[in-house]
């Protein structure tokens, strides 16, 4: 078909030394690498899995991979993981990212061990500030991330927070079909906004801000605030109502009301709300976000850094933190804070110099040395198509993303 030599201009193994294997998921595998041709720093190479196991033929690239490639080449922001290059070689796609030593999931896990104190409030504030800046950049550029969760938020060893994994992201400028038509299920269930759970066809960037709210809550309490169980797709076409997840939200926030969320009545799954209480008394006696917040903060053992002057009280997330959390976990997507509004919230300082400090290094207030990302060197052959036992379910593109994508 095509004669000529323009294919394979670049070869991964000529340009990078693979140090080891980081993780695998439905999308493929991620490796840690170092440059061979003088590139500065370390890299994470995401190798997309071919659609079928052991595929020896070109089968066409999945739409999610195309989206990720297209967006990664356009995006450029300090709070979004930087894409170094994309290499297409031997029927495989490699996206080379800047390397980040940590991610929020790993940081949260580190703190969950009982002997350890909670994440310092200023660290949380800085993480949130940087995360919101990244979301603001994406949303301003008509990009919805659609899969924000702790595992997708990277943190470099210098304390820079960077949004990663744009595998579900897409442009939303005047979509041709409803967003629902393309991808029936978006956002890992625990971080899924109520309008999605209630079957909304036309959702907005507000879904990303709900996820930010969930992440904020998780940074405070070290566990997912709404840890529901995912109802599996029973048939092939119909998407089940995520009853358990909705219950988890209602147990804390209470039932949404038409009063506070006027368009609620028009949600396809609106009828489901009335019987949420059946067999679950907590639905009718919700904790309330305020109580959740105050007891979470009280329960956290915030410590005073050794370096502080004697008699200093620990820094505790205050009322402003609660107000911001309430603004992000607002049922009505129209009333939910936008990234821009959230960044203007009194929770954050108004002084630009202070904001700049907040935006730079979240570890500036940390007295923890987080362990480095685990890299296994047993499997550093990037050529092999896949690990045994990481079979892909043969799902059609975009139809479903299972709840947890990282193998742990």
């Amino acid at each position: 078909m095509l004669a000529g030599s323009y294919l394979n201009q670049k070869r991964v193994r000529e340009r990078y030394d693979i140090i080891g294997f980081i993780s695998s998921g439905t999308y493929g595998r991620v490796f840690k690498a170092r440059g061979r041709t003088g590139q500065v720093g370390e890299f994470a190479i995401k190798k997309f899995k071919p659609d079928k196991e052991g595929e020896l033929q070109y089968t066409g690239i999945s739409q999610s991979a195309i989206r990720e490639m297209a967006l990664c080449t356009e995006l450029s922001n300090p709070n979004v993981v930087h894409t170094v290059e994309i290499i297409l070689e031997d029927k495989c796609i490699y996206i080379i990212f800047e390397y980040a030593e940590h991610d929020l999931l790993q940081i949260i896990h580190y703190h969950t061990q009982t002997s350890r104190p909670a994440i310092p409030p200023m660290v949380i504030k800085s993480i949130l500030y940087q995360l919101l800046n990244g979301v603001l950049y994406l949303n301003r550029n008509w990009v919805m991330h659609r899969d924000l969760k702790p595992a997708n938020i990277m943190v470099t060893s210098a304390g820079a927070v960077k949004i990663g994994d744009l595998g579900l992201a897409r442009l939303f400028y005047k979509p041709q079909a409803t967003l629902f038509a393309g991808d029936k299920v978006v956002v890992t269930i625990w971080y899924r906004a109520p309008e999605l759970l209630l079957g909304s066809r036309h959702y907005t960037t507000a879904i990303d801000l709900w996820a930010v709210g969930c992440i904020f809550a998780e940074l405070l309490s070290l566990r997912p605030i709404f840890k529901g169980e995912e109802a599996k797709m029973d048939g092939k076409k119909s998407v089940p109502f995520q009853r358990n997840q909705m219950q988890k939200i209602v147990e804390i926030l209470g039932l949404p009301t038409v009063d506070r969320w006027p368009l609620l009545k028009h949600m396809p799954e609106y009828g489901q709300l009335s019987n949420l209480a059946q067999g679950n008394s907590r639905v009718l006696n919700p904790v309330g976000l305020e109580k959740w917040y105050t007891s979470t903060v009280a329960h956290n053992r915030y410590v005073v850094p050794n370096s502080s002057p004697p008699g200093t009280k620990p820094d505790v997330p205050g009322r402003d933190g609660l107000a911001l959390l309430q603004g992000l976990l607002e049922y009505d997507p129209m009333k939910r804070l936008t990234a821009e509004q959230a960044l203007q919230h009194p929770y954050f300082p108004t002084n630009q110099a202070e904001r700049d400090v907040l935006g730079k290094n979240c570890f500036a207030w940390s007295f923890t040395d987080y362990p480095n990302r685990r890299v296994s060197s047993d499997d550093n052959d990037i050529r092999t198509s896949s690990l045994p036992g990481t079979k892909r379910g043969g799902l059609p593109d975009d139809s479903l993303r299972p709840g947890k994508r990282l193998k742990e």
């Binding site: 078909m1 070109y58 297209a70 356009e74 450029s76 550029n141 897409r170 442009l171």
Partner: protein, 359 residues
């Protein structure tokens, strides 16, 4: 970025000056001197018209039903790809169907590869095989050559956004829309920003719509008035009267009178609004017996055109670029008259078959 043209890969990597584009193409030709001599090709625009029509035919096939935006994106992919790859090294039918397959994914109207290959095989049975891996491989080539820069900004959005500002009538809007459709066969998508192209299309539409309407309605008096007003010049040996709708549907190249009028009117308009803007009083090649496209006052310019001119003068739009776009479109419609589908099909067939690129 994605929604910001100024930071986009399109502006940074895929917008060239005419000289840069000429140099790129010269280097490519020099590298393939033998092939170039062996398989002579017609004017690039004629080939592009052919590809555009093939693409349209293909995309309109019952089950594909592609939307306009994907079609436009696919054409831009073709322009970009062939600025870096010698066309005689490729099977253009495979490249264009793959460009559409890829564009559909990027524009969020995906089609399964097997489906696209099936339709392509039906459309061009003698040059497309049923092997889907060929399209998969070509997709890799397209993406590699374009450095994964797949998001394309189109003029349609600017046109729709500005349509209320310029108070465009439905006829003017669709005329502008068709001009934008047509610009994809030129080099303009590689030369100018989408908003310059959108503004040029809107201006052309506003200026030409009355000429076209009067012509198609056969209103000799109005035409005469326009002529004497110095704004519009019509060829006295004009084509048979056509209905506006028909002209719109078939593109402006169908109507030579409109084409000639376009030349002089736009020259006059741009000239009067921006003295020294570059086009005033300048005779374009083949402009024929234009009726006074000087820098003189042009009473026939409608209030609408005048308002638009004022808007442009106040905005920071690159007027030189708009003049360049206008001239490119005019010369396109001239070249279009020499277009014969059969000729293009033959020359492409020669190198595809001759070099076994269809295998």
């Amino acid at each position: 970025m994605a929604a910001n043209y100024w930071d986009s890969s399109q502006r940074r990597y895929w917008t060239f000056t005419r000289q840069e584009l000429a140099d790129i193409r010269q280097r490519l030709e020099d590298k393939h001197r033998h092939l170039v001599q062996l398989y002579p090709l017609p004017d690039r625009r004629l080939l592009n018209i052919f590809f555009c029509q093939q693409l349209q035919r293909f995309s309109k096939r019952g089950t594909l039903g592609t939307k306009q935006q994907a079609l436009a994106t696919a054409q831009v992919y073709m322009r970009r790809f062939y600025s870096k790859v010698e066309i005689r090294e490729t099977n253009p039918y495979l490249v264009l169907s793959t460009a559409l397959y890829l564009a559909c994914k990027v524009e969020e109207c995906p089609q399964h590869i097997r489906h696209v290959v099936g339709e392509a095989r039906q459309t061009w049975p003698d040059v497309i095989t049923s092997d889907t891996s060929k399209m998969g491989e070509t997709e890799f080539a397209l993406i590699s050559v374009m450095s994964s820069q797949l998001i394309v900004h189109h003029p349609y959005r600017t046109l729709l956004d500005l349509s209320p500002t310029f108070n465009l009538s439905p006829d003017e809007l669709s005329l502008a829309w068709w001009i934008i459709n047509d610009h994809y066969v030129t080099d303009l998508p590689l030369l100018h920003s989408p908003h310059v192209i959108a503004l040029t299309a809107a201006l052309l539409a506003v200026v030409l719509n009355p000429v076209q309407a009067a012509w198609s309605a056969g209103k000799e008096k109005e035409l005469a008035a326009m002529r004497s007003g110095g704004a519009a010049a019509m060829r006295s040996d004009g084509d048979p009267v056509q209905k506006v709708g028909a002209i719109l549907q078939h593109g402006m190249h169908q109507n030579r009178a409109v084409q000639a009028a376009m030349q002089s009117v736009v020259q006059a308009a741009l000239g009067s609004a921006f003295s020294g803007g570059g086009a005033a009083g300048q005779e374009l090649p083949g402009s024929g017996n234009t009726g006074g496209a000087g820098g003189a006052p042009t009473p026939a310019l409608s209030a609408k055109v005048q308002k638009m001119m004022n808007w442009l003068a106040e905005s920071e739009v690159d007027i030189e670029a708009m003049v360049d776009c206008t001239q490119e479109m005019i010369s396109l419609y001239e070249v279009w008259e020499t277009y014969k589908e059969k000729d293009c099909k033959e020359v492409i067939g020669k190198f595809v078959k001759g070099r076994g690129l269809d295998k």
